[in-house]
């Protein structure tokens, strides 16, 4: 069985040995990269700086929450707002792999720039097993290029260090609980963020719509779980689809987008089954999304696909 205590001890030792100079941790505030940050801090203390990139594709209030968490952790950190860069780079891009590669490259350029400023030799990432597995290579097919693996350009100016490469989400959580990491139970959120929760082309307006839809979905699911109405899913989110359908609003026809909501149970994200959420909860989510976002969304569908054949995120 996976032994979190042993893992922390061994990985901290390895990092101590490996990181002979200043290092930077690419940290989204999620459980993987925050665990990697805490391990690296244990190993090299103040020679570590955490960099969080606001891609403009983050969830509601996310950047502020991460800032607070970094402060609580006592990390040296920087929050870089690169929203405009990301949005411009993604303009008119519809193909999911292209989106992921552009995002991977944007991330690394930001880190490169920051690394130069600080004279950093190592970039630590919270890459876990499914990231490199799904990114493919050799005999393995590429399912999705994860932004921290397959999306990386070939010319990078520092060495990449990945202490969590061989572990899965459930194992990272065990380490996070042991280390008392605040985001230990936070649901997975993909590195490319809301960009892969908008099927097809990305506009500022669509980002706002999907951000709000995700906030509604998260709010109702979490409340229902707290009230004991449902088992808390492993992951739960909303995706803005690219097709429009007809609706009726106050005796007027409208023709706007569909939001697909999805919730899954999983251990490690490598296989998943859709959550059997009661209709009453689904209905509540549907009503809130279609009312709050009525001029943009008039239809909500619930995704009942397992993985495989589907993946968890749409892109």
């Amino acid at each position: 069985m996976f032994d979190a205590e042993k893992f922390v001890k061994e990985e901290t030792e390895k990092l101590k040995e490996k990181l002979t100079d200043k290092a930077m941790i690419a940290c989204s505030g999620g459980v993987d990269s925050t665990v990697a940050a805490v391990l690296a801090k244990k190993a090299i203390g103040n020679n570590l700086v955490a960099v969080y990139v606001d891609t403009g594709m983050m969830r509601k209030n996310e950047t502020e929450e991460v800032r607070k968490m970094f402060e609580n952790l006592g990390l040296n950190f920087k929050i870089i707002n690169a929203s405009e860069d990301f949005l411009t780079a993604l303009e008119n891009v519809t193909e999911p792999e292209e989106k992921r590669k552009i995002i991977g490259e944007r991330f690394i350029r930001v880190f490169e720039e920051e690394a130069k400023k600080d004279g950093v030799k190592y970039l630590i990432q919270g890459t876990i097993a499914p990231d490199w597995i799904e990114s493919g290579g050799g005999e393995r097919d590429t399912i999705k290029s994860h932004h921290n693996v397959g999306g990386l350009p070939e010319d990078i100016g520092f060495e990449i260090v990945e202490p969590l490469r061989d572990v899965y989400k459930d194992e990272v959580r065990k380490v996070a609980r042991l280390l008392g990491v605040e985001s230990k139970e936070r649901q997975p959120f993909p590195g490319p963020g809301l960009a892969v929760r908008i099927v097809g082309d990305i506009t500022k307006e669509k980002v706002e719509v999907v951000r709000e839809a995700n906030a509604i979905m998260e709010g109702i699911i979490e409340k229902s779980a707290d009230e004991g109405k449902i088992e808390k899913p492993w992951q739960y989110f909303a995706t803005l689809l690219s097709s429009k359908t007809v609706g009726v609003h106050g005796d007027l026809r409208n023709y706007v987008y569909i939001v697909s909501i999805r919730a899954v149970q999983s251990l490690d994200g490598m296989s998943a089954s859709y959550s059997k959420i009661p209709h009453e909860v689904l209905e509540k989510i549907s009503i809130e999304i279609t009312n709050k976002l009525g001029d943009k969304v008039n239809r909500v569908v619930y995704d009942i696909t397992n993985k495989p054949p589907g993946t968890i995120e749409f892109e």
Binding site: I133, E139, R140, D141, D166, S271, S273, N306, P309
Partner: protein, 195 residues
């Protein structure tokens, strides 16, 4: 106990490694191009042939040296998904595109007793992910389990300690997945003690 996982490029190869490690087995993922001699040097007690993206009908060359292992390795071997299909093909059977491919949740029914299904109920839920299947089983093999859309879900060799599963016992959503690995470990232990 030392069991290696031969990587045919599957999405769940690393999961096989994890399950074996969780069960206290010494394990390692090795490329399917590893020469048999190197494996023999390590005194391995069993092999898992992982699944992979290779289409069995026309891409079996992507499966490297695994035919050599089946010909000469003197240890138990379990093939999963494409590893299972290859086993049948290698011993003279046929494998190719499925009549009805299966993805995700399926019900599997055990048809015949075998050490690999020791302690199993008659039916259980399994996770599938395959475009191909075994079409014709060589005489040395027997069918152990079936599903509605795939007759040959599990096989064993009548004389050698070789087993094949079309479904994926290594993923968390499959029922009794760890039990398959526990049973395989027992098979390896028994084989070793009788050697």
């Amino acid at each position: 106990m030392k069991i290696f996982v031969v990587d045919n490029g599957g999405q769940w190869t690393h999961r096989e490694w994890r399950v074996l490690r969780d069960l206290g087995v010494e394990t390692k993922i090795i490329p399917n191009t590893t020469p048999l001699k190197e494996i023999e040097k390590e005194n391995v007690d069993g092999l898992v042939l992982s699944g992979g993206a290779a289409r069995i009908g026309w891409e079996s060359a992507r499966l490297g040296e695994i035919g050599e292992y089946l010909n000469h390795a003197k240890i138990p071997i379990i093939g999963l998904c494409v590893g299972h299909q290859f086993m049948a093909l290698h011993f003279g059977g046929k494998a190719g595109p499925s009549t009805v491919p299966e993805f995700g949740k399926t019900k599997v029914t055990v048809k015949r007793d075998s050490p690999i299904f020791k302690g199993f109920p008659k039916t259980f839920i399994a996770w599938e992910s395959h475009n191909d299947e075994i079409k014709e089983l060589p005489d040395e093999f027997e069918i152990l389990a079936s599903s509605e859309n795939c007759l040959i879900q599990a096989i064993h060799h009548k004389e050698k300690p070789f087993y094949g599963l079309q479904y994926h016992p290594e993923v968390e959503d499959t029922e009794f997945g760890y039990e398959i690995f526990k049973n395989f470990i027992e098979i390896c232990k028994k084989y070793k003690s009788e050697k």
